[in-house]
Point group: D2
Chain length 348, copies 4
């Protein structure tokens, strides 16, 4: 931690800050510049609230040197985390990137869901996604089928062998969702719902944590840290777009660079969601490829058996024929990436 | 709803959209421009998911004309909502703006809390705020005293007569929090935690709903709509800063104009939080005044008996003497605004 | 400057950075943490490009402690800059806030301009604003009357005694504009047009520098530094709104807090433009008041004799009767602020 | 154009707007909803300033249906623009993507520049980039060698046959820059310097137009329209990153999706700049690949013979050996893309 004093800070004020730091177990080094004094405080950040030093008289600003995510960071664990499922599917590290497909929201037409699941299976997907509880900006929109949806997903799993990914929105539903899901998803709007993070941190299911629409990488990794700190280290991060300067051409700005950035700073797997990340069907294929080529461990896509009548997000859903077409080309790219990884060549 | 077709949309594609609209009970009007055709669909948006039309072939974009917040909007209810408490305090409309003060987080020093509460009472505040559960970006930071904090707040209420405002973070805690709180606060990070909005929508306590850090006015009012739709119309909105282009000089960009904007589009009371909105102690007074002069129905400020040792947000907390000093000047301004309101003069 | 090394930086890499710093005349202090080493470099930042150190092997990040604006900063000059015009008008410091009014763009109807100028004079404005060259997002929009507009402004000055503010868009036009203008305005889109900043830095007219729509406070003050570094210290800053999360309710997000922030870090005068800052007529009055109450040295408003037929920005222009009405109330507020300043009372 | 009236707009107000539209040559269609009336105005937007209608009493908002870029849009010209240089290099459409490399800024070490140019040539680049005039946020940073730099670039061109790309910052320098450059670059900070756009619009050199750091796609294409409207249709767009929610991990957020979006709405070539777009050396390779795989017509990279001593942007510059290494892999990817394009297969 670096504490920068105001140019007109008094010797007394500097002394007070130094004393407070030393009382809290920090070693301090003073650097007197021509204009300002800078105090370097060396020690364990977790013992204190660093920004509390900003409240001392004469302090201009406090800069944190070492980020407070220890469990999620590469510094704490150098080797990549690879999560393995009971059916042998693996995600993370140099494993072959995975594909996750399915409708935004499970609807009352079970047959439609099964058609999507079979297409997903056929095209080599490992996971079926589908929402049982839908976070909807408007209360007048369809809110999800709840347990009925979970039952449908379980039927689809039984028929196809795909693993089931579904979103949890409330701690109250954790037990029910855990019964059905292979992977629990935490949505972007709940990335800082700390009670929910704590709850999934105490369960034993892998978690897909989606980046909040305005979250920095630091906030994103700290959200993962909440889950890991509570005991669950099977966290899969998901980039799904942030609020950018333009929301007319695309729904969000997909931050593709976040993937290599996160791979540098964290050992956790990271996947990409080009459906929510763009909100436009024609952008799903190119942006899925962009994510894969920069090193994403997987890609998540919305597929619906009848997008024009989807109860949510139809505009960003692929129909089954479109999905098959795109998946064929993505598989080709995934094959190349996997080949390069296995032969220690540079990516693609 | 306006549906804009692609320049090269076929007559068949236009026909399909028109039919689909008519099947859903809309009246349609076609406007053929030189380049594009525009379909105006007249009817009740709530019956359909308008963006589902974006998934039809040949559709370029869908524009919603009438926002889907009906309960929160001025169109639905013209007169201002004024919320009255059992002790006669009133908030909203042309009522005198209120003041809410207290620590970010209730700590184990009950005496400190009582000092703050007494100063708040002395300076004319109507509400005492304090967190029992703290949403913290890092899991290593202090997470709150939970029920103990609620008990302390109740003690402070008994001693001062101030109404208690405290944050609810999880539906599981609703019963406990309701027992102690006069007003339930929903934090910015939970603005789109729809399960939580639904839960407080079913209770009978007034709710302070804070604007999410990247929420549009539309998303903010839709979050209020979720609460109202579930039965609770006592919603107080709170502007607390959004993510802006600069996060070094201030923690957030306080969107002061949101106050008159919301007063135009909604009948709900709206208050301002200059403490979280700026994250800088020296900005609390000017920004509180800015909020009041543009018409905020109240101002919420963080006050701590010992900011340098606060367990959270010390840098943006006022000490008791600073608070008294500032409150004196805010009261002067509030007095003028109240005078002008009562005498039908233009504000200040 | 603080240089943070990667956790796995070698002793050799650290040594290389230290040597390079010392070769450039910096004194260095090493702080070895448990995980990372931090090098504090003490000396004059202007001699080097600090970010060049980010290109050394083993460097994680470089943090600048002291901002490189020396001329614009309070650290370089403690007392407020007050700019005085030949007719005695003064702006800055504790001087009475000024009012600037006029059309976005001077049009061919001289009589309309004179009506606005006379209303501005009558209501106590000190400055008349009007564009001769218009930066327009679309090439199909009206681009301004050029020299004819400048002549009209000069006529209006002669008739009313108001000082003329007009925008310069190209170094080529500097001589012409200087002949007519009392104050040269640099628009938001040109805030980082460094050639233009240099050119006005070499002239002797006061300059109103508008904040870029996505500029940080640091970038804004560095743009002012460009002008001052080239010899012109009569710079008036102008907050006019930044791109925020919502551009449907308002055109920009007016960053009201920027005013007290800039008054803390710089000695330069700072004014507010609620017309461009909101793009909505009904928000001009409240946001002008917000700016004034937090300490702006002036307010700039668009006024047009016939807004419905304005060649640009009609939606955010006040008609003459509206302007008079609002100006009356702003004068009342300005009077109170001036009284408080003169009697050393806290603002308003 | 769609004009949405306020819910309480009077028949008289609606009539006034309709009359005004008809006087300006628009055909109007009224759509009366339950709550609001919507007026569709059909005709040529260029004849009027559409937002001027927002200034009429009773108007809630004005929505533009057809974007006012006609020359830059696909609607105006369906086939891709391909720009051909005298040496046969072609950019745009289904041509093989190009590579542009060189230092941010040309420095006084001619030999270093030649080393970079030769490496660029060797690796198959078509263009050498280098700044003669540098837009620098701080006036204390190196501002460029001006004409000397242009002479050096010409020497490098002579030795290698590479085409020269260099930035123009002021209309005053256009003649000088035109004498040396094969392609004139307009920097992100000047994207809305309309005088400069007009000037390059009147010259006959191809122009690389960089996207402003906070520009929407609409504003970007309108800036291109300014150049084309003035007579120069050889515009190459360049995505170089926008301001995002996180500026600590990366300098900007590279908006990769902007490439397929722009290819849908415009016929102009679009390239990507991963150096400025990320500001981090380790991200150049992955983000160049991301750009290429989504269809960019070229990639621009900063390469310096001695990044640790570069006068600007060292941290995002590749050294020559790094560049060669990366270029080898980019060439492999470009080869595949070119193969797929030539054989009408889906991209990669």
């Amino acid at each position: 931690m670096i504490i920068i004093m105001e140019p007109n800070a008094t010797a007394q004020q500097i002394e007070t800050v130094v004393k407070a730091l030393e009382n809290k177990g920090f070693k301090t080094v003073l650097n007197h510049g021509d204009v300002m004094t800078v105090i370097a405080a060396i020690g364990d950040k977790r013992l204190i609230e660093p920004h509390s030093f900003q409240s001392y008289e004469g302090v201009r600003s406090v800069k944190i040197i070492q980020e407070p995510y220890k469990l999620a960071s590469r510094e704490g664990k150098q080797e990549d985390t690879v999560i393995e499922f009971s059916n042998g599917v693996r995600i993370g590290g140099l494993e072959k990137p995975v594909m996750i497909a399915g409708p935004c929201c499970v609807e009352k037409d079970l047959d439609g869901l099964l058609q999507v699941a079979e297409a997903a299976k056929e095209m080599g997907c490992q996971f079926l996604r589908g929402g049982a509880f839908k976070p909807r900006t408007s209360p007048y929109d369809f809110q999800g089928l709840e347990e009925k949806a979970l039952e449908y997903l379980a039927i689809a799993r039984e028929k196809t062998g795909l693993l089931v990914v579904t979103e949890l929105m409330d701690t109250l539903d954790l037990d029910m969702v855990s019964q059905y899901a292979d992977v629990i998803q935490i949505g972007a709007r709940n990335m800082q719902n700390f009670k929910l993070l704590k709850a999934v941190g105490k369960c034993d299911k892998p978690v897909i944590l989606k980046r909040g629409a305005a979250a920095t990488i630091r906030e994103f990794l700290l959200a993962a840290e909440h889950i890991m700190y509570n005991g669950n280290d099977k966290v899969i991060l998901c980039e799904r777009g942030i609020k950018g300067v333009d929301n007319t051409s695309t729904r969000n700005t997909l931050d593709v660079a976040a993937i290599p950035v996160i791979k540098k700073y964290s050992h956790l797997p990271i996947i990409i969601d080009p459906s929510h990340g763009t909100g436009r069907r024609y952008l799903i294929e190119p942006m899925a490829k962009a994510g894969l080529i920069v090193g994403a461990h997987g890609v998540m896509m919305e597929v619906h058996h009848d997008p024009e009548n989807a109860s949510s997000d139809g505009a960003q859903s692929l129909s089954i024929p479109m999905f098959k077409d795109i998946a064929k080309r993505l598989n080709k790219l995934i094959g190349r990436i996997d080949y390069d990884n296995k032969h220690s060549m540079s990516m693609v």
